[in-house]
């Protein structure tokens, strides 16, 4: 009798150990997993503000511009300097390094086209408008728009004019001028007639539209996690070994009590929205206000969806027209980064505050109060009105970190081998 009981217990143990992964997930969990699979990622949503967004000729021109270091004050900074293809289109540094050191972490480009708001604070509302920002930022490319339009005329005239029509006449334009540049460049800009300023602005905007068309071709490819999910959802055992037992335990935490999937949702593992999770500021004396001041900036931006250089009719600018401009939760809130290839791009957070994934997880467990605004996270032992603390033991944190390392995969450029 005793032996029979032991045998039954052993049989049960063996059954559990060799149970196909698909059957270890509930139908609800399987639905959650399916929603994270890369196959759920559609083509980039249409950008009505950029008429050339999906023109191959625009992507080809944009690709050349993306890698051209002449788009800078010293001929040494291109978009690819920080968005390096060999590093998944980011730079691996805590803060961006162009002509000087920036104040935030370089964001990866692949699948950026799926966002509604750009930069960590969402101060731009299209990929093309985003591309214009670093070009004139003194710490990044340090270029000015007249210099850039001159470069278009000298190096890219046929390609540009085939897409956008004639470039503005260069006669009467100074070598360098722009509204955001050095005092001399600003003074030269102020001296230009308004019509000439607008003609330069239009060509400058078109430069951004070509770069955006190229960036729209960059998408993440399949990871081990995706192969595992395909097996689970398709009830196939073949690829269940794509994840180790520790990684599967980490995945269970990711969609369960670690609450990661609350914000890291969908096939890009981001809700594309802004959250204050109490990440400590790099400089405690000057905490970064994040999203809140960016709302006024994007509304006032001449290169926004409602501006004269946008190709969209106003009714297609719904994100801007219905922008959340009065939400106190947006103070010191930053955009949720997607987690595809996250293990390949330490350090983490909006200013590279954490060196490792383990430190990131430890932050969410300790849930410190925010230096500015209020953290959405609940702290252990504290009563929190809205949500439970993220309680993870050391072994669970290690499993979760292991799972995050399974999200790595190639970056694919549309039309090229991946």
């Amino acid at each position: 009798m005793k032996h029979a009981l032991l045998a039954a217990a052993l049989a049960l143990l063996l059954l559990t150990a060799f149970q196909p992964a698909a059957r270890s997930w509930t139908p609800a969990e399987r639905a959650t997993l399916a929603a994270l699979h890369i196959g759920r990622l559609d083509a980039p949503p249409a950008d009505p503000s950029n008429a050339v967004a999906d023109r191959p000729a625009a992507a080809a021109l944009g690709r050349q511009l993306f890698f051209d270091a002449r788009l800078s004050a010293n001929d040494r900074v291109s978009c690819a300097s920080c968005h390096a293809p060999e590093r998944g289109f980011q730079d691996g540094r805590p803060l961006g390094e162009g002509l000087a050191t920036g104040s935030r972490r370089t964001m990866p480009v692949p699948a950026a086209s799926h966002a509604s708001w750009f930069f960590w604070d969402g101060r731009k509302d299209s990929l093309w408008s985003q591309a214009l920002g670093p070009l004139e930022d003194a710490a990044e490319h340090g270029a000015n728009r007249v210099q850039l339009v001159r470069l278009l005329a000298e190096a890219y005239r046929p390609e540009y004019e085939a897409l956008f029509g004639p470039l503005p006449p260069l006669a009467g334009l100074p070598a360098a001028a722009g509204p955001l540049g050095t005092p001399a460049e600003r003074a030269a800009w102020a001296r230009l007639p308004e019509a000439q300023q607008q003609a330069v602005d239009r060509a400058f905007a078109n430069l951004g539209k070509a770069i955006a068309a190229y960036e729209r071709t960059l998408m993440p490819g399949e990871s081990r996690f995706d192969r595992y999910v395909a097996a689970v959802v398709g009830d196939r055992p073949a690829d269940e070994a794509a994840l180790s037992p520790a990684e599967v335990r980490g995945l269970r935490l990711f969609i369960g009590k670690a609450q990661c999937v609350s914000c890291h949702a969908g096939p890009l593992l981001t809700d594309q929205h802004f959250h204050n999770t109490g990440v400590p500021p790099r400089d405690p004396r000057r905490p970064d206000p994040g999203r809140s001041p960016a709302v006024a900036r994007v509304l006032a931006d001449p290169f926004n969806c409602l501006g004269r250089f946008s190709d969209a009719p106003p009714q297609h600018c719904e994100e801007l027209r219905y922008i959340a401009d009065d939400d106190p939760h947006l103070q010191a809130a930053f955009k949720t980064p997607g987690l595809r290839n996250v293990a390949e791009r330490a350090p983490y957070m909006h200013a590279g505050q954490f060196a490792t994934l383990e430190q990131v997880i430890a932050h969410y467990v300790s849930a410190p109060g925010a230096a500015l605004g209020h953290s959405e996270l609940a702290r252990a032992g504290q009563r929190h009105a809205e949500r439970a603390p993220i309680a993870l033991g050391a072994a669970e944190a290690a499993d979760l970190a292991a799972f995050l390392r399974s999200l790595s995969g190639p970056v694919c450029e549309r039309g090229r081998p991946c």
Binding site: A35, Q272, E318, A324, D327
Partner: protein
Amino acid sequence: MRRSTFLATAAALASAAYLTACGSPPRDLDLSLKHPSTQGLFVVTLEPPATGPVLDQIQTWQLHLADRDGAPVSQARILFSGGMPQHGHGFPTRPRVTREIRPGVYALEGVKFSMSGWWDMRFGLQAGERTDTAVFNVVLDDGRHRS
């Protein structure tokens, strides 16, 4: 006076907090899209677009406002607030009631859900002398509406 009462009600709506333990919505959540307003002055119906609630798309919903006898209530002033009670954040957009489409039917534009889970949609209602509030709950499961 009436105006300040209305605004105070709207502010109370906006700052209302819930007590829930964890990530899944409460089991007894009222998911009805037609019910009397909080004080019973109106009957309010919230109508999603034909597609139902969809993640990551800006949608226009409709609010039907009627009196207790079912007669449409026109020229009402309607304020919206809402968000995810379990996450402590509002809508990613600022939805607004923009116009009265036909008597008693109002367009709520700019509605966007950025995450699956429990969202609340709260209305401050003012029609003539009458002010009231109405609250609806919507749960999105991986982009699908639970009802």
